[in-house]
C-alpha cells in the first residue's frame, strides 16, 4: 500500500512540473498585445482622479452591458457600431479633454477603441486599468 502511494506521488511530479513550466493557456499571464494597452496609455483610476479636469469616459462594452450600468456621463463607443456611435462621441468631446476608455476587465476592446480614436485624430486617449471592475466605483 505504501509502495503504491509512493508511486502515485512520484507520478504527480512530472505532471505538476509540466503545469508549472507550461501552464494551461487560461492561466498564462496575458501579453500587452492581447490584454490591453501599451504601457504609456494605461492609467489607473487613482491617476485619473488626480487630473482634476473633466474627463470624457468612453464605455467600449456592448450596448446591453452599457445599458445595464455605466460610469455617469460615459458615452458608448465600440467596434460593433463604430460609425453610428462616433458622431455622439464627437458631439460630446471638447478640444483638449482627455478621454478614458474602459471595457470588461479582461477584454481588449478598450485598447482597440483607444487606437481608433487616435487614428481618428484625438491624441489624449487612455485605457483604464482594471476596466469596468475599477470604473464601477465611480457609480453613485
Amino acid at each position: 500500500m505504501k509502495g503504491i502511494l509512493l508511486i502515485c506521488l512520484a507520478a504527480l511530479v512530472p505532471a505538476l512540473a509540466q503545469r508549472w513550466w507550461q501552464p494551461p493557456e487560461a492561466f498564462r499571464p496575458r501579453s500587452a498585445l492581447t490584454d490591453g494597452a501599451g504601457a504609456g496609455e494605461r492609467v489607473t483610476l487613482q491617476t485619473v482622479r488626480g487630473w482634476n479636469r473633466p474627463v470624457l469616459w468612453v464605455d467600449a462594452r456592448t450596448r446591453a452591458e452599457f445599458e445595464s450600468g455605466h460610469v455617469p456621463a460615459a458615452t458608448l463607443l465600440n467596434e460593433d457600431a463604430w460609425e453610428s456611435l462616433l458622431p455622439e462621441f464627437l458631439g460630446r468631446w471638447q478640444p483638449g479633454q482627455p478621454v478614458v476608455v474602459y471595457c470588461g476587465a479582461s477584454c481588449e476592446s478598450s485598447r482597440r477603441v483607444a487606437l481608433r480614436l487616435r487614428l481618428a485624430g484625438i491624441q489624449d486617449v487612455h485605457v483604464l486599468e482594471g476596466g469596468w471592475d475599477a470604473a464601477q466605483t465611480l457609480r453613485p
Binding site: 509502495g3 509512493l6 508511486i7 502515485c8 512520484a10 507520478a11 504527480l12 511530479v13 512530472p14 505532471a15 509540466q18 494551461p24 493557456e25 487560461a26 492561466f27 492581447t34 462594452r61 456592448t62 446591453a64 452591458e65 465600440n78 467596434e79 460593433d80 457600431a81 463604430w82 460609425e83 462616433l86 458622431p87 464627437l90 458631439g91 471638447q94 478640444p95 483638449g96 479582461s106 477584454c107 481588449e108 476592446s109 482597440r112 487614428l119 481618428a120 485624430g121
Partner: protein
C-alpha cells in the same frame, strides 16, 4: 518491477491528465467573406477519454463572439463541434478572439482561439477635423488612402450632410490617395457634419462608402 511501473507512470502521467476532450486544433485562422457581417469558425473535437464528458459552459472575451454547442454530453469516442460566431460589426484589421469552454474532463477551461483579419478598404486620416468657436473658417484637410484593393478608384466624391460645411476632393496620387479639404461657412455655433466619402471602383466592383466628420466646438484650437 516496481521501478519499471513507476517509470511508466512517470512518463504517462502528463498525458493521462490531458485525457478527455481532444481538439483537432485549438487555434484557427479564419478568413471572412468579402463584406460579410459575421464569421463562423468550427472547432471539431473528440472525447478520447474513457468517461463521458459534459460541456458545462462557454465564455468569450468579447461580446461580439458567441459559442454554440450541438449537445452537452459526449460519450467516450464521440465527436462533436463547437461553433463560434463572430459578429464583425465595424471592426477592421487583425482580430484574435478566445472562447473558454468549461467541461467535466478537467478543472481548467479548454481555450479555443481564432484569428482573422478584417480587410480595411481605405483609411481617412484624421477621420475628423474641428474648429474652435470663432476660429477663422480656413480649410482643414484629411487624406483618404486606398488600402485593401488592387483596383484603383475611378472617382472619389465627398458630400456633407450639413450645407454649412463644404468638402472638396483633390487627387494626390492617381486612383489611390486624395486630399479632402473641408471649409466651414462660419465658426460661431456648435455644428457636427458627416462627410460621406464614396469611392467608385473599376472592374464593375460595387462602390464603397466611408464616413468622416467635421465639427465646430468651443475651446482652444488644437488641430
Amino acid at each position: 518491477m516496481r521501478v519499471l511501473t513507476a517509470c511508466l507512470l512517470l512518463l504517462a502521467s502528463p498525458l493521462t491528465l490531458q485525457a478527455g476532450l481532444f481538439f483537432e486544433a485549438t487555434t484557427l485562422d479564419a478568413k471572412p467573406e468579402s463584406g460579410a457581417s459575421t464569421l463562423t469558425v468550427k472547432f471539431p473535437f473528440q472525447n478520447r477519454g474513457d468517461q463521458k464528458v459534459t460541456l458545462l459552459s462557454t465564455e468569450s472575451d468579447c461580446g461580439c463572439t458567441t459559442a454554440t454547442l450541438d449537445k452537452q454530453i459526449f460519450q467516450p469516442g464521440e465527436s462533436g463541434v463547437i461553433t463560434v460566431n463572430f459578429a464583425i460589426g465595424d471592426r477592421v484589421g487583425p482580430q484574435e478572439k478566445k472562447v473558454r469552454i468549461r467541461a467535466s474532463d478537467q478543472t481548467e477551461p479548454h481555450v479555443l482561439t481564432f484569428r482573422t483579419n478584417i480587410p480595411m478598404f481605405a483609411r481617412v486620416q484624421p477621420q475628423f477635423v474641428y474648429w474652435a468657436s470663432g476660429e477663422a473658417p480656413t480649410p482643414k484637410s484629411m487624406v483618404f488612402e486606398l488600402v485593401d484593393t488592387e483596383t484603383p478608384i475611378q472617382k472619389l466624391t465627398a458630400t456633407s450632410n450639413n450645407p454649412a460645411i463644404k468638402p472638396e476632393v483633390r487627387e494626390l496620387e492617381k486612383g489611390r490617395r486624395y486630399e479632402i479639404a473641408i471649409t466651414p461657412g462660419a465658426t460661431e455655433k456648435f455644428l457636427l457634419a458627416t462627410i460621406q466619402l464614396t469611392a467608385q471602383l473599376g472592374d464593375g466592383k460595387p462602390e464603397r462608402k466611408m464616413q468622416a466628420y467635421a465639427t465646430i466646438k468651443p475651446g482652444p484650437p488644437a488641430n
